[in-house]
């Protein structure tokens, strides 16, 4: 979906309750009361659409990227939190029992404890929930615990807010607005069912088998899967998928990894995975024959429809994985356009697929430039971190402004690379990147 259309659709959705309240026959209350109600409605609408942004819907993420979709999910949670925190404090009218003659609830804010209690509980939980999410990396809980807590916590907050909104909300007494809230809540609930039940159910009929786990560098493994009784995945080079090496697709223990194989190489899927001390620490222990499930493809790091005259690939560490996939695909397609890979690592032992990269560099019009921050003795290549000077030295020829660039690696490296390429005159829309960390 077109990004501008997506933004417009998003705004229309979160503003819909406000618009319906405006159109209701209820007379407006004083400014601060209306501001309080409006802030509450916007916060709840944003919270409900947060479920869709994190729901792995390709329609949402294919055009703008799942990383950007997730970044908006994170940022908009902050907006919702600010609106929700302000909501109860903006009211100026007294919190009283609503009198029978005040049929439009114009002169008092309800003081009914049951109706307020769900709002207060959601208010407290939301604050803790957003702060715990922002500080996720500093709190060392496992990925599975995080996913379970995040999914169930969000659902609990949404359910509490639905009750509070329908019972305490002045405008939500209107059947049309009440229906909108229930529909938005149902959509949010459906996204959880989609991710945790429908998708795994569809994966159950398309299992994979681990064929091999080969060492490709220091603590870096290439895991190869073969389709078990189906034709495989219809993907493009550079995309990623959620990989699950458990016996069942119904698990929280699945993780996103870039696909490093080329679609043209056949139905087998390859992933290059680096042990980073988390769930990836046991990658080398995965046994051939292990049952696996794949949710994908996802991501927009693809150059299939691009027609630029050259390709610059910039990778840091395990960020080489999707770029290897793109290079393998181009090789199989016998693509002859110039390609340069700039690949940064800490040490020479960390270089993944080194032999394959040496072969790649032998071909005409292709080059691989390694950058090592801790080079061995007698190293004659680039040294240090992959900074602006290093990138500019490699990609400063005038005709390289016309190239397409694909970046994958740690966030600081990607930001440096993007800024440098733009300063060299490369249009930003010729720079493709995908992140797995957003803060």
């Amino acid at each position: 979906m077109n990004p501008i259309l997506l933004c417009a659709l998003y705004l229309a959705t979160v503003m819909l309750p406000l618009a319906l309240s405006w159109m209701s026959a209820k007379p407006p209350r004083p400014f601060w009361d209306e501001l309080a109600s409006g802030a509450g409605m916007l916060a709840f609408a944003i919270i409900l659409t947060e479920f869709v942004l994190s729901g792995r819907f390709r329609t949402v993420s294919r055009k703008i990227g799942m990383d950007i979709t997730m970044r908006f999910h994170q940022l908009l949670a902050r907006t919702a939190l600010v609106l929700a925190v302000l909501h109860p404090f903006l009211y100026q009218s007294p919190f009283n029992r609503v009198q029978p003659w005040d049929t439009t609830r114009q002169f008092a804010i309800t003081s009914d404890f049951t109706n307020l209690a769900t709002g207060i509980a959601a208010w407290i939980l939301l604050g803790a929930f957003v702060l715990l999410s922002i500080g996720r990396d500093r709190i060392h809980y496992t990925y599975e615990t995080w996913r379970l807590a995040h999914g169930l916590g969000a659902l609990l907050i949404a359910a509490l807010l639905l009750h509070h909104t329908l019972e305490a909300g002045r405008y939500s007494q209107d059947p049309a607005l009440a229906a909108v809230w229930i529909i938005l809540f149902a959509i949010a609930l459906f996204t959880l069912i989609w991710v945790y039940a429908i998708k795994p159910s569809s994966q159950r009929g398309e299992p994979w088998t681990v064929q091999s786990v080969e060492r490709q560098g220091l603590k870096t493994w290439q895991v190869t899967l073969s389709p078990d009784g189906h034709k495989g995945l219809d993907y493009e080079a550079g995309q990623f998928a959620w990989l699950n090496t458990n016996d069942t697709p119904f698990t929280l223990n699945e993780h996103p990894f870039s696909i490093s194989s080329a679609p043209a190489s056949g139905p087998n899927l390859e992933f290059i995975i680096k042990e980073l001390g988390d769930h990836t620490a046991k990658t080398g222990q995965i046994k051939p024959g292990t049952r696996a499930f794949v949710d994908g493809p996802h991501g927009h790091l693809v150059i299939t429809d691009r027609n630029e005259p050259g390709i610059g690939l910039i990778a840091g560490g395990v960020g080489i994985a999707p770029l290897i996939g793109i290079m393998r695909q181009l090789k199989l397609e016998e693509d002859t356009c110039p390609q340069i890979l700039l690949y940064g690592n800490r040490s020479a032992e960390q270089i993944a697929c080194n032999t394959e990269l040496e072969d790649f560099a032998q071909a005409e019009n292709r080059d691989v430039i390694h950058v090592l921050s801790e080079p061995p003795e007698k190293w004659t290549g680039e040294t240090g971190i992959m900074d602006a000077d290093c990138i500019a030295r490699v990609f400063n020829k005038p005709d390289m402004k016309q190239w397409v660039y694909v970046l994958c690696g740690p966030a600081p490296m990607m930001e440096t690379a993007e800024d440098t390429l733009i300063s060299l005159g490369v249009p930003a829309n010729q720079i493709l990147s995908e992140r797995f960390q957003y803060d």
């Binding site: 405006w22 209306e34 501001l35 907006t79 733009i422």
Partner: protein, 39 residues
């Protein structure tokens, strides 16, 4: 201007701009809604 925005602006800046534009739209809608009570 949109062409310039898409050609010269890094992704994180584009994200920040779109995010704050969205926030501005939400705040304006909220203020307009609340301002009905001023009359």
């Amino acid at each position: 201007m949109i062409e310039l925005f898409s050609r010269k602006t890094a992704q994180r800046t584009r994200i920040a701009i779109v995010y704050w534009l969205q926030n501005a739209a939400l705040v304006i809608a909220l203020l307009v809604f609340a301002a009905r009570g001023l009359h």
